[in-house]
């Protein structure tokens, strides 16, 4: 693959937890015993991030995700081990980094820009876009301390998504706020990813990691538990989390890590979510074309194999639609091959979606192989469509007419009286 943008070798990081920290001279002199203990937040992390990849860091609270992120951002220095970074880093660990309440919105845009590693020329180029996005043009010359919290957040957010980094380091805290914010944020990350930037992100939103990241790292108690393809790591992580909580909720959590089952002999070897041009992606806009390509292996002699696809809402597993190739009169020819399920116009509205792909016989009595809820994609708003509620975009018309054109209101009553 390509060059390595970030490489971590055996990185250890400890925090000294003081039970009572001596901040003044008196305390330093008087308290002979400095009572503290070392807490090792990272215990020998090895990690390589190739240039142009998007990598997600997952793990339970306290597993060292944020510490690792801050170490990569060079805010914290490891106690042991080496960290090499090639490229300009822009860390987005919080909204409004470096905003000074006394400075005007405009001044803060430039100050924050330079703190995030943006050259002044770049900020100047993007300035209009930032103001536009924040939608507070007439307030750019007053100090941000006089902003409403909403204006402040919008400006901070506009600055954050305007950065044009070589390496972007994002904490999910950035995605606090309403859903629109979050989606904008993920959209921007998707754009940067498409431009070939290197992105490291920490998120508790597993669907996000699954759709946005090509690779994932699962941290546990300061060590790397697993690293690999995002979908695999997330699935394994969820499998464990669900295993632990299975007793409480009977194992049927809405998060659903997915599973694979089936009696064979036909097999699904890969399920890929593609855009209209056949490129791998996990993110779409409403009305985009979408292709689900299933790569299969069917032994000769098995002549009646059908492929089925079902799509569900990620958060509640609401069944959105499902079809199989049999309905279109297609049985899969035996051998190694692929079958594509093409959606020329994706009607889904924004959200995370999960796919079940299955191979079964014509009567659907025998399941050969089923990848149940193992593959995800996300849909963003399409700015050229009006904002709609619900799950799907439906082509509709509204028509209003005055009551004088309609049949008289007494008529139905007469009819019902008969």
């Amino acid at each position: 693959m390509g060059d390595v943008a970030i490489s971590c070798e055996g990185v250890w990081k400890s925090y000294r937890i003081y039970h009572q920290r001596a901040h003044t001279l008196k305390e330093k002199v008087l308290s002979r015993a400095h009572r503290y203990e070392d807490f090792w937040a990272l215990k020998g992390i090895d990690l390589e991030v190739e240039t142009g990849t998007t990598i997600g860091i997952i793990g339970p609270n306290g597993s060292g995700k944020s510490t690792l992120l801050k170490t990569l951002a060079m805010v914290l220095t490891p106690n042991k081990g080496s960290l090499t970074v090639r490229g300009r880093i822009s860390p987005l660990l919080e909204l409004g980094t470096g905003f000074h309440p006394e400075l005007t919105g405009k001044e803060n845009v430039f100050l924050a820009g330079s703190l995030l590693g943006q050259p002044k020329r770049e900020v100047e180029k993007r300035y209009d876009g930032i103001v536009d996005f924040a939608g507070i043009e007439s307030f750019m010359d007053i100090p941000v301390k006089n902003y409403s919290s909403g204006m402040y957040a919008r400006l901070a957010f506009a600055v954050a998504i305007s950065v044009d980094p070589e390496i972007l380091i994002v904490d999910e805290v950035l995605a606090v706020g309403d859903e629109g914010f979050q989606m904008k944020c993920w959209e921007r990350i998707t754009e940067l990813r498409a431009e070939g930037r290197t992105i490291v992100l920490v998120s508790h939103s597993l669907p996000t990691v699954r759709t946005l990241c090509s690779k994932a790292v699962w941290l546990e108690k300061g060590t790397v538990r697993e690293t690999g393809k995002a979908a695999d790591v997330v699935a394994d992580y969820l499998a464990e989390v669900h295993h632990e909580t299975a007793d409480q909720d009977g194992g049927a959590g809405a998060g659903s890590h997915g599973r694979r089952y089936g009696a064979g002999p036909a097999q699904i070897t890969e399920v890929a979510v593609l855009d209209g041009d056949g490129g791998h992606t996990g993110t779409f806009r409403t009305s985009d074309p979408l292709i689900i390509r299933v790569t299969y292996d069917i032994p000769t002699g098995l002549a009646d194999t059908i492929c089925g696809i079902a799509v569900m809402r990620g958060e509640n597993l609401a069944y959105v639609f499902g079809q199989n190739s049999g309905q279109a009169g297609l049985t899969l020819p035996p051998g190694s091959g692929t079958v594509e399920f093409r959606v020329p116009y994706l009607p889904l509205l924004r959200g995370h979606y999960v796919i079940t792909a299955v191979l079964h016989d014509e009567a659907a009595t025998k399941i050969y192989d089923c990848h149940e809820r193992r593959h995800w994609f996300s849909v963003f708003d399409n700015p050229s469509l009006p904002i709609e509620g619900g799950m799907v975009h439906v082509a509709t018309e509204w028509k209003a007419s005055l009551s004088s054109d309609a049949p008289s209101s007494a008529a139905p009553a007469e009819q019902s009286a008969r």
């Binding site: 951002a73 400075l103 001044e107 100050l111 330079s114």
Partner: protein, 272 residues
């Protein structure tokens, strides 16, 4: 300072410039006169000193305060000249002491060469000094006459005092992270230092007390104040011997400061 460290600072010059701008703007934000205060404060000071020394103390001229052409510089101006260069030093050192702890909210969020924090405070003092210097030059023109060619030495003196202040700023700002007492102590310390520097008095006043004079000359600010007054007010060359000594002290402070700051800066984000 290591080459890499200087290079890193240089690459972050836009950020430094922005922080200097922030310092200056924030200082005068919300005031009616705004940036004009940078001019008004020294003007008010000159008036105040002139009034006090002429009408209250009725101070006579001091022998040292004569220019090469024989003009005697009024005492108020003589004092103000010393004060201008001292203010540069004192605001730089005093202000930068808390520069690291004052920016704690940034340390944990984004990486930048930490030395930018004391550096930008020192540089913003240099900018303020520029305003005071302008007032001083005008006052000199009015009360004493044209400055001579020796004023060309001025940049050198400013460089020496800035280096000295930056060296001390590195030391004090990093020590303050671990020992916040320093922030309180530095104010008193600078007051003492002020009186231990020939600003309100002249070196010749100490001529009869050689012990005290030697002590005074060990103070690195002495040479700077004397040389500054020489070139700006008195049309005389700097005191190269003292200024050279000051330069050496500045280098030592810089070396110690870089060493301490460099060793401790990795811990700043966790402690502040």
């Amino acid at each position: 300072m290591t080459i890499a460290g200087v290079e890193e600072l240089f690459r972050a010059r836009e950020l430094t410039a922005n922080l200097v701008r922030r310092d200056l703007k924030v200082r005068h934000r919300g005031t009616f006169l705004g940036m004009l205060w940078s001019l008004t404060t020294p003007l008010l000071f000159v008036g105040l000193y002139w009034f006090i020394f002429t009408f209250i103390f009725q101070a006579g001229d001091i022998p040292e305060a004569t220019r090469t052409d024989g003009t005697v510089v009024p005492f108020a101006l003589y004092f103000f000249g010393g004060l201008v260069i001292w203010n540069l030093f004192a605001t730089a050192v005093g202000g930068s002491t808390g520069s690291v702890i004052g920016s704690g909210y940034l340390l944990g969020k984004v990486y930048f060469p930490r030395a930018i924090l004391p550096l930008s405070t020192v540089l913003s003092s240099v900018v303020t000094f520029g305003f005071e210097l302008a007032v001083l030059v005008v006052a000199t023109l009015v009360f004493a006459g044209l400055p001579g060619l020796h004023i060309l030495w001025l940049p050198l003196i400013v460089v020496v005092v800035t280096l000295l202040a930056f060296g001390l700023a590195l030391i004090l700002s990093s020590v303050t992270v671990f020992l916040r007492d320093v922030a309180h102590f530095i104010g008193v310390f600078l007051q003492l230092w002020f009186w231990g520097t020939p600003i309100i008095y002249s070196l010749s006043l100490m001529a009869k007390r050689p012990g005290l004079l030697t002590l005074l000359k060990l103070n690195p600010m002495t040479g700077i104040v004397v040389s500054f007054r020489n070139v700006v007010l008195l049309n005389r060359p700097p005191d190269f011997k003292l200024l050279g000594y000051d330069f050496l002290v500045a280098l030592v402070c810089l070396a110690v400061g870089t060493k301490l700051f460099g060793r401790w800066q990795r811990q700043f984000a966790e402690i502040v």
